[in-house]
């Protein structure tokens, strides 16, 4: 199963690019959060691909990937809590409507 490292990196790069694209054009906050999740996953793929083929201790990439998954899960939890609190106050999750620093 010899897939050269570059192919994994290019795949992860395109995934990351799609994530950025999503984060840029989405008007809905949850849409942006989802795209950030996607970018984090692209980074994970990179980590694992690098650690498997270039590092001497191959499990470091996976350890990093697990830590990234934990941090991403925590960030989604807090992010969505903020979105729900925001929705309760402003009745909308669209980025244009949330432009006052204090309400």
């Amino acid at each position: 199963m010899m897939i050269p490292l570059e192919h994994y990196l290019i795949f992860a790069a395109t995934l990351f690019a799609i994530g950025i694209y999503g984060a840029l054009i989405r008007r809905n906050i949850i849409g942006i959060l989802i795209s950030i999740e996607l970018m984090l996953n692209a980074v994970n793929v990179n980590l694992v691909a690098f650690s498997r083929s270039t590092s001497l201790a191959p499990e470091t990439g996976q350890v990093f990937a697990i830590f990234v998954i934990a941090v991403a899960a925590a960030s989604v939890a807090v992010g969505l809590a903020i979105v729900i609190a925001l929705y309760r106050v402003r009745k909308s999750v669209y980025t244009e409507d949330i432009h006052l620093l204090k309400w």
Partner: protein, 169 residues
Amino acid sequence: MELLNLAGIAGVYTLMLVILIAAVAMVTLRSLFHSALALAAVLIGIAGIYLTLQADFLAMIQILIYVGAVMTLIIFAVMLTEHLSHQTVRQNNRQSPLAIAGICAFLFCLTGVIVRTPWPLQPQNQTATITAMELGKAFMGQYVFAFELISVFLIAALIGAIVIARKDK
């Protein structure tokens, strides 16, 4: 037997293609619920990619945490905030052509860098499957401080999320 290997490699590339299509769908779909499901498809696909990279413990963790828990959170949030009346509202702002141009430039120079740099390959551990045993040793050995820190971090995030989302009576 080499036919089987070829089939395997072809399988990996099709999996990558499917993931990219699902990711594009996730970004462009109008209804947020559909894009959340596309994200679930992407996550399961990436777990498949981990399997091809012989990281099966990580693939299972990815499915368990991402598809099992994070997706549920996202779908809960989508359900709580999506009005059916919003279907007609435009989901993305006007800057998509500009964004596409920027992203393509970024992607172009990134792939240029990837292809040109001589990665220091270590061919000897290409086939070693990382089992849970080595990961456990790494967690308890070299990364024990980070391991404890991450649990504190998760508890803090947990309590923070509850405090923010709770209806303050």
